[in-house]
Symmetry: C2
Subunit: 346 residues, 2 copies
């Protein structure tokens, strides 16, 4: 059934009709044909329009956007650089952004940095080479130095989720403080009095830092015992060890774990299973709702981000600068609490 193969076919480059051929067939000038396919179509007499339309149809003519972008307007291309394309968050955002782009005649080039600084740099260059008119960036690292040239060139740039400490740049994302408050208030209301916050390396992203800081402040306000730990491949201690120790340390207190995002939620769920912990008696909630959250144990309580809206907002922010569009959008988005069994103590 398997077949390793090399295609023997020789490739014949596709050959398309050009503006000039349409003009010739329609018995008119390039100028008129160009007008027909642009915003000045109305300035053409009905007869001419009909002739051009017929000729174009006969030749199956489609304007070459590359050529068009060389002279007149821009490339009608926007770039989206995500840090981890396998993350459902990225995909949903991408979906939202693409919708809005298409709606306004733009296409989206999506590229994936895999959380790698060097790759991010390369891809930024590549997007630049294709002359994208703007970039939505879910930044990987701390690329002050990398971004500076982009910013100086006035390439419209919108940051997703992660701030970079450059005040001139727009950042679209979750209302981090609001989200943490919602989570802790919910856990508190459910009777939990000790919380372990599981996040990812905070030095890489402002949103992670913001969430962690708010966690510390808010848990203190609520008089909850609070700890935090970093999840990650080679994190020390491991998640399992950290959770086990936390629960042991607070054996007299109702304990809960709060996961900072979707990836972490997955990792914590695995740790619960490995440790034989029952969700509910040991509370668990996560930021980001995924389709499987209802299926694990008694169901995992989550804070759902409006990911599509975030993607659209990022695109809207960019588009507003490229054309006089006045699209409404918001910078900071509130999540929705979805309560399930994992935060039900009894």
């Amino acid at each position: 059934m398997l077949a390793y193969t090399v295609l023997p076919m020789v490739f014949t480059p596709p050959t398309r009709a050009t503006l000039i051929e349409v003009a010739r067939l329609a018995g008119t000038s390039k100028t008129s044909v160009s007008r027909f396919f642009g915003p000045e179509r109305d300035k053409l007499s009905p007869t001419l329009q009909a002739r051009i339309e017929g000729a174009a149809a006969a030749l199956d003519y489609r304007p070459n956007l590359m050529a068009r972008s060389l002279k007149g307007s821009g490339s009608r291309l926007l770039g989206l650089l995500v840090a981890d394309i396998r993350n459902p968050y990225s995909v949903a955002v991408m979906h939202g952004a693409e919708m809005l782009c298409r709606q306004h005649g733009y296409a989206l080039i999506v590229a994936n940095t895999d959380n790698d600084d060097a790759r991010e740099q390369d891809l930024l260059d590549a997007l630049d080479a294709y002359r994208v008119e703007g970039v939505i960036l879910n930044a990987t690292g701390l690329p002050e130095r990398q971004l500076a040239p982009l910013r100086d060139r006035a390439l419209p740039l919108v940051l997703l989720d992660r701030d970079l400490g450059l005040p001139e740049l727009d950042v679209i994302g979750l209302d981090d403080e609001g989200a943490i408050d919602m989570a802790l208030d919910h856990l508190h209301a459910k009777g939990y009095r000790a919380v372990l916050y599981v996040g990812e390396a905070p030095e890489r992203a402002s949103s992670r830092r913001a969430r962690l800081e708010r966690f510390e402040a808010r848990s203190q306000m609520l008089a909850m015992a609070a700890s935090s730990v970093i999840a990650g491949k080679d994190a020390e201690p491991t998640l399992e060890v950290a959770i086990e120790a936390f629960v042991a340390r607070h054996s007299a207190t109702p304990c809960a774990v709060l996961a900072a995002n979707g990836n972490v939620t997955l990792a914590v769920a695995h740790a619960f299973r490995a440790l034989g912990l029952t969700m509910g008696p040991v509370g668990f909630m996560g930021i980001d709702d995924m389709p499987w959250c209802a299926l694990v144990g008694p169901g995992i309580t989550t804070l759902a981000q409006p990911t599509e809206a975030i993607g659209q907002a990022a695109a809207a922010c960019l588009l507003n600068r490229l054309m006089p569009l006045d699209l409404a959008f918001q910078y900071r988005h509130r999540p929705t609490l979805i309560a399930r069994g994992s935060t039900q103590r009894i």
Copy 2:
């Protein structure tokens, strides 16, 4: 915390150094600068090379790929049209394809048809307008008519997962027959004797048809009682009803459900939960492995597709026609069986 806003900033279009400016600064001709950035760099004297390099660096010059594509080679752009971008399958394939493309100097424009014929048509046109050199298509529908023009134009096209009955087109995907055999053999070995196959509307995709047909043939060979049902928004009967009826009908026989893909696996898992069925006693396995499969109930047994490899194969197939690359790839990929508790009867 919320802020609806319209950006007040006026956009200053980015202005880049051009070939001609580099030439001027380096005191040489456009031709030489062009050569410096192409494959003929070696034909330039070391001194000239140094001068151009210096000038380009000073001006932060980057070749405009749009302009380049107009004259010489192609656009260095490949298109990937996926039917459902929120499906982990699509994302993994995309990841694999993108890697290989980048490795060979191509960028990938990804677009999402949302399983909509009209959108697919539009997007195909759009990709065409950007003069992509080839398209990887995870086809939505039955677009014989839509594809014909592409094929006639000799635009390199590779089909993903779904065949369209056009023998001239390459199709990359799972070894559907092998996969079904592995699944049924496993269920049989675990003692299940009645199987319900849950798939999606088969008329829309050859791979769905192939899996269903093989399911019927193989279950008969194994003397298993077999039924099948279509999952979907407005499918009749609903999944819950169908599963409940199936289990009731075979109350004397060990029953199992086989889900045809990742989306269906999710839907079936929800149905199990709604019905209060225990996985294992009622067997359950699915094609496509997802990160959460180990977390639900006793763990869901799956057939993992080598999705990254499939994506790379699709890209390799395309790339082979664009340049003399001789990349090895395979058309039909075998899955890996991951046995978990959901197919453990006791």
